[in-house]
Symmetry: C2
């Protein structure tokens, strides 16, 4: 291998705030503007790392679901197809933002860059399918909820559709992604946690489910041999007593500490919990380095000056 | 290069009917069922060819536009983003159909397979921008047309939005695609003719335009070194006096004949015209073989037993 090919492999999992921030409506101008800061950092980091980028898609898939509810003239598409649509949308936005950053920064190395559609195998017997609990799409009226052709649940915001959130078993394109990073391509993939499919005999079939994007990224990281797994989100790191007066961000967490705080319920199910679990899964599976940081501090976190570092 | 890497490069440009056929509503079940026949042929052909697949997206992008018209609660997305969404959707459908065909056929060689988001540079001074004439999206009422925030035109179906259809200059991901087919990856790309972008100084910026997918495929074919350029559509080949009593499908066409029939108006602007022009552009640019056939006769056409063969 050439020295460049031996550069460490960095996986950055971009949280939803890299595209739409709190209080924003989510116009396309806002989304491109929000991407600029994290993507500029990733462009610079790509000079010393091989890079994989994954991303969330919650608000984007929510908007597509809302449009389906509004518009009865168009055949409804299953969730797997909407996730595929958001992979196209966000993959394009990240790829073109990276292209633009490469040009703006005048970087020496202009690496090959691809955004891949990705699907992820889940187990049809995953207990999540018996108990769908991940809210997606718009808030429904009582009437809509009563007549909905899918499972619904009353959440803090009101009635919402819920789908299963099963564990990722394997990324279908792992061979391809591994070869691409071996050739120092920058790869954008596993958007929204990947399109969920199950094996049915000799076929793949899409299922109504969403996979947590940090868990999918962790699985991808192990399958393709990522060295550094960085989850970039809208807070500076994992914190104890989050949102309370005594809140304190943790600089580092051993695996034992992380597991204990998880068990104590320190990390919320819908936000930091899956990130800490994804870090644990990655390190226990043989990964070397995992961290959680804000989207504005990716470079600082990689230099050990920000974020929460997980210590094996 | 190994013998396998030296296999001829086949580009199949799939027409819209490979996904939605005349008279169909376009449910997801219909789209997957329609893909089966062309994709099974491509899976078999991939055993002796390196393969690139491109595809149309007219009805799919039309549905997304219709949903945007219906649903005022969601921020409108520009056309470039809708095209990106259809690349995600259709890329996933083609890729998973191919995966399933590989498994079903028990083929010996299970090639690496990727579906890429692709964007295509157009010239901001292309005359098409001064005269947008490509109808997209739903038929509009007189009232909607009068208040539309975009150009509209009265078509045979009624008022519709029109956008520019500029010439493709270059496929941004051409280096990546060339390296991937060099390694015998099957590559799905340039969906819907690609996402249209213009260069603005050191940046790419999306534009409201659609690129003809056959012309984009022809350009891609020349840029990455395709040997055989096959346009698969809903008719058996290019025909003289199309739709009239004396209609006859042409087995072969020399470049001079093709150009003469084009000039005579034998090939309609919205259908066969761009395909014949794409074939001419490919062969005049140095391509070796171009053909037009039905989606059910791709293998027969490659064997010289169906379709219209262009003879340099």
């Amino acid at each position: 291998m050439s020295p460049r090919q031996a550069a460490p492999v960095l996986l950055v999992a971009l949280g939803g705030n890299a595209l739409i921030q709190k209080g924003q409506q989510g116009t396309i101008e806002e989304q491109f503007a929000n991407l600029r800061e994290p993507i500029a950092q990733i462009a610079r980091l790509s000079q010393r790392h091989r890079v994989i980028i994954t991303h969330g898609n919650g608000p984007q898939v929510g908007n597509l679901l809302l449009q389906q509810e509004c518009c009865q003239d168009v055949p409804r598409l299953p969730l797997e197809i909407l996730v595929a649509q958001t992979q196209g949308q966000i993959g394009y936005m990240i790829e073109s933002s990276l292209d633009n950053q490469f040009m703006a920064l005048g970087l020496e190395v202009f690496k090959p860059l691809v955004s891949l559609i990705s699907y992820v195998v889940v187990d049809r017997h995953d207990p999540a399918f018996a108990n769908p609990d991940k809210p997606i799409g718009p808030v429904l009226s009582d009437e809509q909820a009563a007549g909905a052709p899918y499972p619904v649940m009353r959440t803090a915001k009101g009635w919402r559709r819920v789908v299963a959130s099963p564990q990722p078993i394997s990324i279908v394109e792992k061979r391809e992604i591994k070869r691409l990073i071996g050739m120092d391509f920058i790869v954008i993939c596993c958007g929204g946690g990947g399109i969920s499919v199950v094996r049915q005999g000799r076929h793949f079939a899409g299922v109504d489910a969403v996979i947590d994007k940090d868990l999918a990224s962790s699985r991808l990281g192990l399958e393709v041999g990522v060295d550094i797994f960085c989850m970039a989100t809208d807070v500076p790191g994992a914190a104890l007593d989050f949102g309370q007066p005594g809140e304190r961000v943790l600089d580092s967490l051993s695996l034992a500490q992380a597991r204990r705080h998880l068990d104590e319920g320190q990390f919320h199910a819908g936000s930091m919990g899956p990130k800490v679990r994804a870090a644990l899964m990655f390190l226990e599976g043989g990964g070397k380095s995992a961290l959680i940081c804000s989207t504005s501090q990716i470079e600082a976190a990689l230099a050990g000056k920000a974020g929460t570092q997980f210590v094996p």
